[in-house]
Amino acid sequence: MTHRDRSLSVAGLARVEGEGAMHVRVRGGRVADVQLEIYEPPRFFEGFLRGRGHTEVPDITARICGICPVAYQLSACAAIEDACGVTVGGTVADLRRLLYCGEWIQSHALHIYLLHAPDFLGYDGAVEMARDHRWIVERGLAIKKVGNRLMEVIGGRAIHPINVRVGGLHRVPPASELRALIDPLRRALADAVSTVDWVAGFDFPQFEHDHELLALVQPGSYAIESGTPRTDRGLVFAVSDFERHIIEEQVPHSTALHARLAGRGRYLTGPLARYTLSRQWLSPVAREAADRAGLGEQCRNPFRSIVVRAVETVYAIEEALRLIAAYQPPAAPAVPVPARAAVGFGATEAPRGTLFHRYGLAADGTIATARIVPPTSQNQASIEDDLRRFVEGRLELSDHQLTHDCEQAIRNYDPCISCATHFLDLTMLREA
């Protein structure tokens, strides 16, 4: 067995949401093939949404992902409200954004501290890391807890919140409940700023990608619950044109569909894209932290996505504080959403990237068609491309090291394989 032709395998890439497999084939010193195999058993959401009532959709789509249920609820609401010609604005829209901030905070803290940081510090997981750095892990858990608390107050619970409905919310919180979150959020803000400084000091491999970057943009604020799709190379289109610009294809090795930009090729969505496209709308403390971390105008090193997530956590906390300070309970928790025969489109920024939904409604509100495009399947082709180039530049490394580095490279994207997968299982085959 030589370095040019050899095979490695690791059963079970850990610390990702869901399970999948990775196959790298090296032949004659060249990377012949890279496949991120997503084999989460399909759950057929788009199939069984057909025939349901239009008001049932957010509770059902939440169950696609336990880590980002609010993203699925609010993309669904956006699409159905669009179909019915209803706009949810004012304070109810602010409360939805606040709920979404909670999801960003808990999801990012989970990824930074429990899933990703152990790679940089050489631990198998956060529990192992806590033996040497207990207070650091406790700091991460404290940030995560505040995000969950925000989701509990507005959503009822952190996993699969129960308070989101088409047209608004079921219940609006009294101001006192939100005010009680101010002190914990302020402490979390200080912890989140420390987190940026901490992760900025990690060792990052020299590696850059050249993917086109796609994110929603909402001039005036960092886009979360709404916005217009835009890329860093000047493509702009309406959410309703999403399917004209994003082509999804099925590939044999994956139960997730692969996406590309029509006539342009692979692209990337998620924190790196959002940061590049919306950096100017970051809050003051978040921008300062980003500058101190040396992120610059854009960040193209996927390993540094942990720094961008930390900056976004600072932003989400500051934004939550701003929304709570301005909060006056609205008169009604929701507006009526009478059904009509129409098609509606919705997109929001899930922690992992742009999440698109489209529903076709019958006149009585029965769902006739449903389409959901999650961020991880959009990123799959770009993750594979990164892996290919990353491995090619490091073939001199030992099998052990290279395998570890590849796992880390996959975790850069915080792939939510549950929105698509099962067991991320890394096999590397080096052959003649």
Binding site: G12, A14, R15, V16, E17, G18, E19, E40, P41, P42, R43, F44, F45, E46, G47, F48, R50, G53, E56, I60, R63, I64, C65, G66, I67, P69, L110, L114, D124, G125, A126, V127, E128, A130, V137, E138, L141, A142, K144, K145, N148, R157, A158, I159, H160, I162, N163, R165, H170, R171, E249, Q250, P252, T255, L257, P333, E407, S418, H422, F423
Partner: protein, 259 residues
């Protein structure tokens, strides 16, 4: 590694939310990790140890031929097997396929359905192997999870309710939506454990904890009908996250159950 029993966490078809409940125990996670030896928990650590395991938590439902093999292997290696969440205890939302034509679903979602390997049904863990304990809910309740882990460590049975959500509404002082509010609510037939969350937020319970230990669905169906729900709507309210739980499946389609 700590001392104490070995703990393994396994995933089948699911959203990851129930195993996330363990990581969501922010105040207790490190303490729990000090009392058990985490032998297999891929969402949390890449370090894995082989079986046998003292305690296995199983999330998700069985939906592929490979899942069937795997759940038997896990059972063989586990002293105590705990099924966690609606997917593992009732088949989950994906069990809606049990009432439909999977071929049709496949082609709706995937342009080339021949690449897929799926069973026609989504089934709970108990349909395949013996299960020692079940924690219900979509998602499970974090307090119930901690109670269960604490009980296992102490060598006693966990204190898990069998009564309905109605008891929790009374305890919480929430006025009855079904009687006083005229709002459709599955509280009378749904197992307690969530703290009667939905009624407290002004909406009817939608049954995410599945059937209570004793229940009378026909009486509830009569009230739902009185409130204006059509038979089709009644079927829908019972067919969500615990659609394949026998009591809910029967309530959703009484004419089929009688056959």
């Amino acid at each position: 590694m700590g001392t104490g029993p070995t703990l393994a966490v396994w995933k089948f078809s699911s959203c990851d939310g129930c195993q996330l409940s363990l990581l969501d125990c922010e105040d207790e996670l490190l303490a729990v990790a000090g009392r058990v030896r985490i032998a297999y928990f891929l969402e949390a650590t890449r370090a894995t140890a082989g079986g046998p395991y003292d305690v296995s938590l199983v999330e998700g439902s069985v939906t592929t031929p490979h899942d069937v093999e795997r759940i038997h292997q896990i059972r063989d290696q586990s002293k105590l097997l705990v099924a966690i969440g609606a997917c593992a205890t009732a088949g989950g939302i994906q069990a809606l396929r049990n009432f439909a034509d999977v071929e049709q679903f496949r082609s709706v979602v995937y342009p080339s359905p021949e690449y897929l390997s799926t069973l026609d049904t989504s089934t709970p863990v108990s349909a395949h192997v013996e299960v020692d304990l079940e924690l219900v809910g979509c998602p499970i309740d974090r307090r119930q999870l901690l109670e269960t882990l604490g009980a296992i460590l102490a060598g006693r049975r966990p204190d898990l309710p069998g009564h309905s959500v109605c008891f929790e509404c009374k305890a919480r002082g929430t006025p009855c939506l079904l009687v006083a509010g005229g709002v459709p609510c599955l509280g009378p037939v749904t197992r307690a454990g969530c703290g009667a969350l939905c009624p407290a937020y002004g909406r009817g319970c939608f049954g995410c904890f599945g059937p209570a230990a004793t229940l009378n669905p026909p009486a509830l169906v009569a009230r739902l009908t009185e409130l204006g729900l059509s038979p089709r709507e009644v079927t829908r309210v019972f067919r969500t996250f615990n659609a394949a739980a026998p009591a809910f499946a029967a309530a959703a389609a009484p004419e089929e159950a009688e056959v």
